[in-house]
Symmetry: C2
Subunit: 209 residues, 2 copies
DNA sequence: TTTTTGATTGAATGTTCATTCAGTATATTA
DNA sequence: TAATATACTGAATGAACATTCAATCAAAAA
């Protein structure tokens, strides 16, 4: 097998990815403290000691996972912001996509659990706290902006846009957690229930004339 | 100080309550594994060893807290069920009360966090798992029934009542978690945003004629 | 071939706890 | 007062675990 600098670098990064992948599931289901290095090593199929060939500590793995999760979330929000769609269609699309992802992507669910564990626990590494502090607000802010735009167009209900954003994300998050804790095939609710909550009712359809 | 059987029993129960109270906050903010017996003892202001005079183990305290939390939640749901109000008013009232409680009762928030930690972690005592298994579904079932009743009366929107119940509870839960993780004075959203989501729109108000 | 470099293993080390325990204090009862 | 029972303390014990380390292994380069 080749062994030049780049190849080496690449293989090393692949191995690190395997570790992160195994660690994600462990941290997501058990939390940082209940997860033992042995659990991670077993999940990846390597010896305990080898984990330390790739990561300095358990905390370092954890922090990297938190960082990735927050970044992915923020990137998704930015790309939503930059779509050329009317605001209420952005909200509709976002809810549909998020619910579908919750329903189909195990990785996404695990990531939500990880973030949930992390944001609701004070017993996490300082660096993870800092990252959360820095990055958790962007999704709320961006959705609030979209809500405000929709209000100007008369398509989103009148209410404090920040509050709408909070309801938006906490509902999504609550659903992700719910789904994660029901191993079986519990169906995720129809997206229209949530979408409805934010849409101004302008028309015939919802009126008994 | 008196020292007959009953007095003793009562004082012992008070002391246990103090321990539970201190432990609740610790478990809620850090989870089971990150919470050390020393933390609990310090929170109550007693020596480590004394905790074991009242509880056999850390797990036993944890299980008792989980049990209390689930019972309180279920009792509240039963009392909602038994109120003589039209279904949509029950939903309205429940949302208003829950949001107000989230906003004002620190104990309630801590309890929500405890349950959230517990339901989303596999690293909890077997007995706690069993309790959650047994008791977590009642609130969903009862709210689903109320939703169905409301649909018959035409006051609750048409959608699978079970899905409505899931959205109901996951939204509430998401908000509680949100509130718990923002130390500052973050306001809880206006209850009407959530209430709206479930109510059939029958009238003039929401129509542009 | 030999040398070098990185991957890998599992045992050794030291620390952090949960839990136990020996002993002290305090209050009630006899 | 002495005997007894409970509350209480903080040190001792032992297990679990994160991290380190000495020793192999395998591939590539020389």
């Amino acid at each position: 097998m080749a062994r030049n600098k780049e190849q080496n670098e690449k293989m090393r990064e692949e191995r690190k990815q395997q570790i992160r992948s195994g660690a994600l599931r462990q941290f997501a289901t058990k939390g940082l403290f209940a997860t033992k290095i042995k659990d991670i090593a077993d999940a990846v199929g390597m010896a305990q000691g080898l984990v330390y060939h790739y990561y300095k500590s358990k905390d370092e793995i954890y922090v990297e996972l938190i960082k990735n999760a927050l970044n992915k979330m923020n990137e998704a929000v930015i790309s939503l912001k930059e779509m050329s769609l009317p605001p209420h269609e952005k909200i509709r699309l976002a809810i549909e996509q998020l619910l579908k992802t919750i329903d189909t992507s195990d990785d996404f669910i695990q990531t939500c659990r990880l973030i949930a564990h992390a944001t609701s626990s004070t017993a996490i590494p300082e660096e993870a706290k800092k990252l959360i502090q820095e990055k958790r607000d962007l999704p709320y802010q961006e959705v609030a902006k979209i809500m405000a735009q929709g209000q100007e167009e008369g398509t989103i209900i009148e209410a404090d846009p920040n509050e709408l954003a909070i309801v938006f994300w906490t509902s999504i998050n609550g659903l992700a957690i719910y789904k994660a804790t029901r191993q079986d095939s519990t169906a995720i609710p129809d997206a229209r229930i949530l979408i409805n909550m934010f849409m101004e009712r302008t028309g015939e359809k919802s009126c008994r004339v």
